[in-house]
Symmetry: C2
Subunit: 258 residues, 2 copies
């Protein structure tokens, strides 16, 4: 007799975002679901945690619901920590984060609150996946994504991920063009060319909005950006041992101890 | 005739922290210095960036100063972005972040605002180093660290870092015991066992403080934690391509496209 898997769901767009609702829909067909998500949008929060202020946790579950929902005043990484320590009775079998409204492919993984939640779960030894849809609209259509999200989640439950690895899944905007399939990829070497939009306050003081353009000079056909451009879903295995192991030997030849 | 290197300095403890003053002292002996640092403490900010609110930038330079100082209302990563785009006339030759008051060894690199600034500089193609002293005290003694900080910064300027790599330098608390030297290391596989300190507001509502204990089960003698325990300075080369390249082949054997 197999028990249903326990699935923790979080995100960075906040507990009311349509993206997390799509993820809940899919996960309810696989297992028992508990949602612990930020009470407000946390995009671009990276792997921030709350050290200098307190955290609030509210049970938002309604009578009609067949799963529990909590909102937390902290970051996505805080949500995973508090879920494991204060909400769940046992270690979840899977943690899924998202579906993010917008891309977390290539260098965006570094700034991503969605992925920081998945990485936090990975640090805690929980198989984890971050999902993102390349559509920034609040009313993005998540329907096409659902069968793929289910397939990837089930594969993670069946195959297990090695220790120290979580998955970064990005889904092309498929409203206009069909999704072709799923591709395993590496993170493209792309980045943002920032621009600061300089404005004046009503009192005449300068202030800035961060803006920018995404620039991908990595034309590798094994990258997430290439897969997404060709309308494939990209799956990048992500690790949180940041050591550049291939450079250790060369660094040892430097005169650090002179 | 060699021009002095241009050095950008930032941190996550804020522009007034003693740690950044120590770093400024050392860097002024090597090159021309510009400081752009957060106007308030940003510990645990990870690689957060400010997307949903505006940024303020203030010139704090005083007449007597032989370098320029700016404070920014954003995160450490924001400070690097705004420094490059709005403050500096040319790309700096080096970006140093810190000296952090407290450890950024092992898994702490993930949560570290200090290291996120160094990584942001690395993404922008600037050689970068994050420095941390294993002493959380505001009045920590940075004097013993200074010759080592200078040596490591000069080695980075001389040897150049490969694209995609920055250095994470942690310095043992040497007030009681001498620093033995510098060791090149890998990130230890250690993590935090969180605990939440649950309290009640004056109105009787629960709230939480995140606390925890650091647990290192990785006894490798090539780790940063081991080096620090033996009173060596640890230098870990850190990369921001998070792809788990060694797992790509195996992941391709999963039934993702069934």
């Amino acid at each position: 007799m197999s028990k249903k898997p326990l699935i923790l769901i979080t995100n960075d767009d906040g507990v009311t975002a349509p993206g997390i609702k799509a993820l809940i829909d899919v996960m309810l067909t696989i297992g028992d679901v508990v949602v612990v998500a930020p009470d407000s949008p946390q995009s671009g929060m990276g792997h921030a945690i709350t050290l200098n202020s307190v955290l609030h946790l509210d049970n938002l579950t309604q009578k009609k619901d067949n799963y529990k929902t909590y909102s937390c005043s902290g970051t996505p990484a805080d949500c995973v920590k508090i879920a494991i320590n204060e909400v769940l009775n046992r270690k979840p079998d899977l943690c899924v984060s998202g579906v993010n409204h917008g891309s977390n492919a290539s260098i965006n993984v570094i700034y991503s609150g969605t992925m920081s939640a998945a990485i936090e779960a990975g640090i805690e030894g929980i198989p984890a996946i971050g999902f993102s849809l390349l559509d920034y609209n609040w009313n993005a259509n998540f329907e096409h994504s659902k069968p793929y999200i289910k397939q990837i989640a089930q594969q993670v439950l069946n195959n297990k991920l090695p220790e120290g690895i979580v998955l970064n899944v990005n889904i092309p905007n498929s409203d206009k063009k069909e999704i072709k399939g799923i591709k395993v990829c590496r993170q493209a070497k792309a980045n943002w060319k920032e621009k600061f939009d300089k404005r004046k306050t009503p009192q005449g003081k300068d202030y800035y909005w961060l803006t920018g353009e995404f620039e991908n000079l990595d034309k590798g056909k094994d990258t997430d950006e290439f897969a997404l451009e060709k309308h494939y879903i990209s799956v990048v295995p992500v690790k949180f041992d940041l050591t550049a192991h291939h450079f250790l030997q060369q660094l040892n030849t430097w005169n650090l101890n002179d």
